[in-house]
């Protein structure tokens, strides 16, 4: 049992980097970015191929982050320069990445056997490494969102029209924010690939829903305003989500039902509060803030 808890926490830590990426696009930028379903395996594929080719695992992990940033930039450019809708930009990138990921790996599944990774098989090593990465990322992101550019990215999701009237170019900020988000998602993919010992082209399916589930769980159970608190609650949400899943599997849920259960779970969380009596939680807001504002007027 104890071993299972450790495994779950390790997974949760690695996935929480992805959840923070989804939080940045979905909550801070207000951009429903589906490209994460492609950038997660992109990170796994990039890191796994480089490691298999003998590259230093830290460099390979960093390369995964950069590859993810490039993918996010493509989505951002499709949306801002080609004027393709948010959803379609993400779907186009995600679809294109499927082929790119296969090309990077050369096959649909790339095992990492006996390679040097950023984690070892020693007990608690993965927890420590992932924990350090997560803490460093949260501190860096927290600081970033209080710089001039970080502040402007937050304002972009809150009120883009204000930024334009302040003479600030929103296109560049959007591309930068999506790059950062997808970079984190890809980084998470590379951590998971090293943790489970292989990269698989299909491992990204449902990333957006899992990320969203983590964001909502974190907001419901911890919540609060402020960037630091939000980042921590999203990371916690990811770990709690993993625990719930592993409990369900112990109780006999077949792993193949995982995505269905996650999707149904997100649907329930979003719809149940509509019914009086069950409405213990405030309904999590899924619609972008801008649209909610319009409804208020």
């Amino acid at each position: 049992m104890q071993g299972l808890i450790f495994l779950t926490i390790e997974q949760g830590l690695a996935f929480s980097v992805m959840a923070i990426g989804v939080y940045i696009s979905f909550r801070i930028l207000n951009f429903a970015d589906l490209s994460v379903d492609g950038s997660f395996p992109l990170g796994a594929a990039t890191a796994a191929s480089l490691i298999a080719a003998g590259v230093n695992p830290y460099m390979a992990t960093l390369a995964a982050f950069i590859a993810g940033m490039a993918a996010g930039a493509v989505t951002g450019l499709l949306n801002t320069k080609a004027h393709i809708s948010e959803l379609l930009s993400g779907i186009l990138t995600m679809t294109a990445l499927y082929s790119i990921n296969l090309r990077i790996m050369g096959k649909s599944n790339l095992p990492l056997l006996n390679e040097r990774l950023i984690i070892t098989d020693e007990p608690l090593n993965a927890m420590m490494v992932f924990g350090i990465i997560l803490v460093v990322l949260i501190v860096l992101l927290y600081a970033f969102f209080y710089t001039e550019i970080g502040l402007a990215i937050r304002a972009l999701g809150s009120n883009p029209k204000m930024l334009i009237s302040l003479g600030i170019n929103t296109d560049g900020l959007k591309v930068l924010g999506l790059s950062l988000s997808n970079g984190l998602v890809a980084l998470s993919g590379s951590l998971i690939a090293q943790y489970q010992g292989f990269a698989d082209v299909g491992m990204g399916i449902g990333t957006i829903v899992i990320g969203l589930a983590s964001v909502i769980i974190g907001e419901m159970l911890i919540g609060g305003s402020g960037i630091l608190r939000s980042l921590i609650s999203v990371a916690a949400g990811s770990i709690i989500y993993r625990m719930a899943i592993s409990l369900a599997m112990r109780a006999g849920m077949p792993p193949t039902d995982l995505k269905l259960v996650t999707a149904v779970g997100v649907i329930l969380i979003l719809t149940l509060p509509q019914f009086k009596g069950i409405a213990k939680f405030k309904r999590p807001v899924i619609e972008p803030a801008g649209k909610v504002q319009k409804a208020e007027r």
């Binding site: 710089t147 502040l151 334009i164 009237s165 600030i168 170019n169 803030a289």
Partner: protein, 249 residues
């Protein structure tokens, strides 16, 4: 400072729904001018403001600011020269951020954003000084979320944000229309004071004829996409409420 030459604008061009909104606007606004702009709904006031700000581009004609042709300059680039306050008090501020954070962004108008702390150095002190001029007690609430403030408070902050980085031109689009009478008069006073102190050239669209007459040094009335009246200085002072009302078609 601002010059409009032969501005034409129509919507739905080439269809049966074509509407000619602006039919050859020529207008020159000097440094320090405070223009009140009145006219019927559909006279083209907001379209004119949008063309000045770059949210819309004219079909024909030129927009010059300080002699430089900005007709095709995108809106965000013109935002470096032009401060703007909209009718909707929610449009000028980012609700999920604090007062300080909103104002810090406004201080960066026309400057490059970097990786410096947005609220570092003397920025907080500058924001506090600026908020004090409102006398609304907001200087003590810099860390409060803007989404928690009333429409009047948000509009007051928006005016500060529109003027604190010294734009060349201030555009006010019925910026008191959505406020209760008290907040509206507060915002009007604030507008006069800030425009007076900074000497920024301003254009204020309003449907309130008393404010149109009492505020500013120049009154322009638009009608059917053209300028029907342009009263300056003494001519504007002599204009009465009844005369103005009679000119509405």
């Amino acid at each position: 400072m601002l010059e409009l030459i032969g501005i034409h604008k129509s919507f739905n061009r080439g269809t049966v729904d074509e509407v000619q909104v602006l039919k050859g606007i020529n207008l020159k606004i000097n440094d320090g001018d405070f223009v009140t702009l009145v006219g019927n709904n559909g006279a083209g006031k907001t379209t004119l403001l949008n063309i000045i700000a770059g949210s819309l581009f004219p079909d024909e004609g030129k927009v010059l600011i300080d002699g430089v042709d900005v007709t095709n300059l995108p809106e965000y680039k013109r935002g470096r020269l032009i401060g703007r306050v909209f009718q909707d008090p929610l449009m000028g501020t980012a609700p999920s951020m604090t007062i300080n954070e909103n104002m810090a962004l406004a201080l960066k108008r026309g400057k490059r954003l970097g990786f410096k702390w947005a609220l570092g150095g003397n920025t907080k002190a500058m924001i506090k000084d600026s908020l004090e001029t409102l006398s609304l007690g907001l200087e003590e609430r810099g860390r409060a979320g803007v989404g928690l403030l009333s429409g009047g408070q948000r509009q007051a902050i928006t005016i500060l944000m529109a003027t604190m980085a010294e734009p060349k031109l201030l555009l006010l689009d019925e910026h008191t229309a959505a406020l209760d009478p008290r907040a509206a008069s507060l915002i009007s006073e604030l507008t006069e004071r800030i425009v007076g102190e900074t000497g920024v050239a301003a254009i204020m669209v309003t449907h309130n004829l008393s404010s149109a007459l009492s505020m500013g040094n120049r009154l322009i009335m638009m009608e059917g996409g053209m300028i029907a009246l342009d009263a300056k200085g003494d001519e504007k002072k002599r204009l009465t409420h009844e005369e103005l009302l009679a000119m509405y078609v």
